[in-house]
């Protein structure tokens, strides 16, 4: 039997328009396919896992279909005070012990949530709360940016736990293990919420929250770095990963010359500058610990060590330090002003952070990372005009204006109109989850149904799926550059296998859930009945609509049609179209299998 010619485009268009209309009481607006495609793209990049079901919701709240209005709509929510994740997310977050921000209170401020309030806090639940936000928060762009900063300033809960456990044991706490787990969770929460608060704010604030945060001070050894030969770990990663990156381009008649931004001498100087930053417990057992930042200037002998042949010691040189002065460094960076030794007021480290946050090299590096996050995840041209615009916008605020940089990217012609970059960035596992759950949400699965215990169990299962099949352990990444990004890392055979399996498990998880409430299959039928489709065409196009906003090729559509048009033995001529309800079991199996089929599609790994 020859394949039946496709007639999907018109039906799909109807499907989207119907969905848009159904989701909104507003007057029906007709959108072109190009507008819908662009809107879908905007949503996918600005949210964790947007599906087309978000489109009608956003369009219903926008004055027109223009992508810029969608962006403005999302940005308006992001800049709203107080931070509001929305009713659904807040309901779900209420099942966890962590405070839900009700204003722009600094979670590190005295009295906001005391460290002693962390009793019973678990890192797994913090991960699950992050998943809830990724999937259900209405403050979508803020969550995307919060995760961006969490990975940019990566720390590891386990490292903090181990350090705190040893500290508490040494100080005589009887319950050191439990305390360490709870306090490490507390400080990861605190740091994450400070990133959330400043997600589209000022870079210097983010840098400071990281540098003086308990997780980072432990993770990169600042807490134990002392003279006369301080630990270089934080100094190096501060330059390389958090601010400038190793090198920047300098325009030359022959093109970009990539010159170093710093050298080993600068790393040694910075290590000396940060030595003395430490953490102290201002309580004594049995009183609950109270961990505070402290500065203990290093007392360091000067001179060389006569016991070391051929080795010049690195005792800090008394007096002011000036960094980034080597002649081979990129002049783009600029030497620091002399940083005095043990100044009054801000510490030496604070002064260095001030310089780094305002350095054009930092502006360039962070802008490049944001370019790759929102525009396309390939190396931009070194002097891409959009990139240089971002660098300029950085300096519109001392310390780095993040919102201006992000808005510049989102308003760009590249972002809005370059169709070649659509479906070209990779999804992380948590994004795959958000997208998949969003699909279920979109088709009527109510995330608020059931008890708190049922919800927590389900979200916990989602977390384990992300970990087991995606290898993504939130708050526990090992390398200092956070979870992997980029095609060569995320698009591998294992990642694809894991991503496929992850989605199939999610279908099972939420499918089982819906059988206890309104059956997901009943939802299918309702939806299909509503639009008066009771043939395989409707099923195919509905799948496309749900999963890909109909950007599949004709060949892929044909494949899916062939699958659904055949019976369980692969033969054509089933009776789905002629006696639909009597063949419901076959239909259900075909739908289930079809969902898995869609889950296997390579596009599912892209956004």
């Amino acid at each position: 039997m020859a394949p039946v010619p496709l007639r999907g485009t018109a039906l799909l268009r109807t499907a989207i328009l119907t969905a848009c209309t159904a989701a909104s009481a507003a007057a029906q607006v007709t959108y072109t396919a190009a507008e819908l495609s662009r809107g879908g793209h905007v949503l996918r990049r600005m949210q964790h896992g947007a599906s087309v079901f978000d489109l009608p919701n956003v369009l219903a709240n926008s004055t027109t279909s223009q992508a810029t209005n969608i962006i403005n709509f999302i940005l308006a929510k992001t800049s709203t005070t107080p931070i509001n994740a929305g009713a659904e997310a807040n309901t779900l977050l209420g099942y966890y012990p962590f405070p839900i921000p009700v204003g722009l209170s600094d979670p590190a401020a005295v009295g906001y949530v005391p460290q002693t309030g962390s009793v019973g806090w678990r890192i797994h639940e913090l991960s699950e709360a992050a998943i809830v936000r990724a999937v259900w928060s209405e403050d979508t762009l803020r969550e995307v940016m919060t995760r961006f900063w969490q990975e940019h300033f990566n720390t590891n809960w386990g490292v903090a736990r181990n350090y705190l456990r040893n500290m508490f044991l040494a100080q005589g706490y009887a319950n050191a293990d439990t305390l360490a787990q709870e306090y490490a969770t507390y400080f990861e929460w605190q740091q994450n919420d400070r990133f959330r608060m400043n997600a589209l704010g000022n870079f210097r604030a983010l840098l400071g929250a990281s540098a003086k945060g308990v997780p980072m001070m432990i993770y990169l050894d600042t807490v134990i770095s002392q003279g006369p030969k301080p630990n270089e770990n934080y100094a190096r990663e501060l330059f390389e990963l958090h601010t400038m990156s190793p090198r920047s381009p300098l325009p030359t008649p022959l093109g970009a010359a990539w010159l170093p931004n710093y050298d080993y001498s600068d790393i040694l100087a910075a290590a000396e500058i940060f030595s003395g930053w430490t953490l102290v417990n201002t309580s004594t057992p049995p009183a609950a610990p109270n961990i505070q930042f402290s500065f203990l200037p290093t007392v360091c002998p000067t001179g060389t060590n006569p016991n070391i042949t051929g080795h010049v010691t690195t005792c800090p040189t008394p007096g002011a330090k000036t960094l980034f002065t080597a002649p081979y460094l990129n002049p783009f960076v600029g030497a620091t002003p002399p940083i005095p030794e043990n100044p009054s007021g801000p510490t030496e480290g604070d002064l260095l952070l001030d310089h780094l946050a305002n350095s054009p090299a930092t502006a360039y590096f962070i802008s490049t990372k944001l370019y790759r996050l929102f525009i396309k995840d390939v190396e931009p041209d070194p002097f891409d005009p959009l990139l240089l615009s971002c660098v300029n916008m950085w300096s519109t605020q001392p310390g780095g204006n993040i919102q201006a940089v992000v808005q510049t990217l989102l308003a760009s012609n590249e972002f809005l109109n370059d169709t070649t970059i659509r479906w070209a960035n990779e999804r992380q596992p948590i994004e795959a989850v958000a997208q998949t759950v969003d699909i279920f949400h979109g088709i009527g699965v109510n995330p608020l149904g059931g008890s708190a215990a049922e919800h927590k169990a389900r979200i916990a299962r989602v977390r384990t799926l992300i970990e087991e099949y995606g290898g993504q352990y939130l708050f526990r990444y090992g390398p200092p550059d956070g979870f992997t990004r980029g095609d060569s890392e995320l698009l591998t055979t294992y990642r694809m296998l894991g991503a496929t399996k992850l989605r199939q498990e999610l279908y099972t998880l939420f499918g089982a859930f819906t059988t206890n409430y309104p059956s997901i299959y009943f939802d299918y039928l309702t939806h299909l009945t509503f639009v008066n489709w009771l043939d395989e065409w409707s099923i195919i196009n509905w799948f496309h609509f749900v999963a890909f906003n109909n950007e599949l090729s004709g060949g892929d559509q044909t494949l899916q049609w062939l699958f659904l048009a055949t019976d369980l033995n692969g033969n054509f001529g089933n009776t789905l179209t002629t006696d639909f309800l009597n063949n419901l079991p076959v239909f259900i199996q075909r739908v289930t299998t079809g969902l898995a089929y869609i889950a296997s599609h390579p596009l599912n790994n892209l956004k």
Binding site: D221, E232, V312, L497, N569
Partner: protein, 516 residues
Amino acid sequence: MQQPNRFDRRAALKAGVAGSLAAALVRTSFGASPAWMAGSPHKLLTIFLRGGYDANSAVIPHGDPTYTSVNRRSTFIPQANSIAINGLNPLSMGLNPALAPIAPLVNAATPRMVFLHATGNIARTGSHFDDQRTWDTATTQCSIPPLFDIEEGWITRVVSEIFGVGFHAASVSESMQQMYRTRLRPNNTFTASRVVPHIRALRDYPNDAVSQFTLDTIFPTLDNKLVGNAAPPSGLRALFSGGAGKDAFARAVGSQMLESAEAVAQFVPTPYLPLGGALYPFGKPQTPPNPYPTPANAGLLWDIELIRRFFMNLRDAMALLRHVPDVNVAGIELGGFDTHSNQGGWNTTTNQIEGQLAGLLNAVAFGIASVDAEASAGAFGPNGSITVLVVSEFGRTSAANTSEGTDHGAASCVWVGNFGTGATRVRTSLTSGAVFNTAATEWPGLFSANDQTFGCPGNPSAPPPHQFMKIATDFRAVYARILRTLYSATPAQIDQVIPGYSSLTGTTAVEPAFIV
């Protein structure tokens, strides 16, 4: 028309009923091996120690006058407590006690394992990411953008430029190692043959980890039609073909996923049965009882989960190398070597080796001893062997810091072993025995990184003060020697794998004769 039942076909293949058909299918699906590689009985296992391990705490230069307890602080290991290296040993080199499992391989009458000390990257920057990329890609990275993270690996080039299309190599690791990565170029083009599988057990199935990498695991409920046939493409196989740009790349990866999963299902037995009493600890079943950890070395364990996964990946790599016909190269890795603090050393109070570094080294040594046990029992046939190559992105500072760790240095130490039932192909140095570059005229000295010619142009690798050891041998010479000797690669082929290799000059480019 009904499609053939792939499960029945596979069962038949496993039973040997259609052995010739199996070979034909493999050749058809995965492509033919090149002439220079065809039939090679020599396998290569790469082990990357991520984080830059402290080479001078593993293979210890007791004869260097600056290797002192003052410089080394708590990382110091007295000569009396290290494992002496037999034979010619001009610098009184010793092995960290945690390396005891490989000591018999090094100290055998005919050593099966040697060390290339003071080997490294002349363009070293001290960045983990820069320097790992350099070792992974066999290219120096003096002039690249900071986020240039998509360069293909040198093993990938071995596969694509020389082997051809097929399942010839695999990265068996938690993350895809860049050594095995495929590059998607900025203009969204790529070569399908460059997609090297990344394999890892989906979940922790202790009995048969790698055999979980199969279509049955992915699609347990799907029928035959969905998986489809290769020619003409149908089902998933059709889904994973075609496309353009990133979509095409994703589809090629999906296609490789199907091919490698089918190959695993066809050839890898369940459960995997190690030969020669080899053990991959923390897996099951444990018969005979697993001796690792014993009470004596339990204190060495640093991160049990990290080490457990290392052993699982090693076992799976061995399963692929032994059983999947075309797989010639596999790579595993172990992280945690970035020991900026509390690195550990010889504890004079407890009188034993302690700390994070020792725990990691002990695991690697135990694993290599298992590989030797399997190869010596004939895992690769009477004429076959396996070469184990252990590398790390850089060495560390020669004096400990005040948080009892070491920071990023330059020269490292490469380990090479060759194991099998025949004579080993490993050779010791005529001037310094089992540890190359340690004769008086060769050893650069622990604080020797004062040569401003190292590093990228205009940006010396080690401006003063000089805290670490400079490089005596370029790591690319080690790679080239392996390709030249094991696989008879021509200079042109080596230049394909290691760009610009034939134009390297100077003493660092001299290939040490560590393998024949």
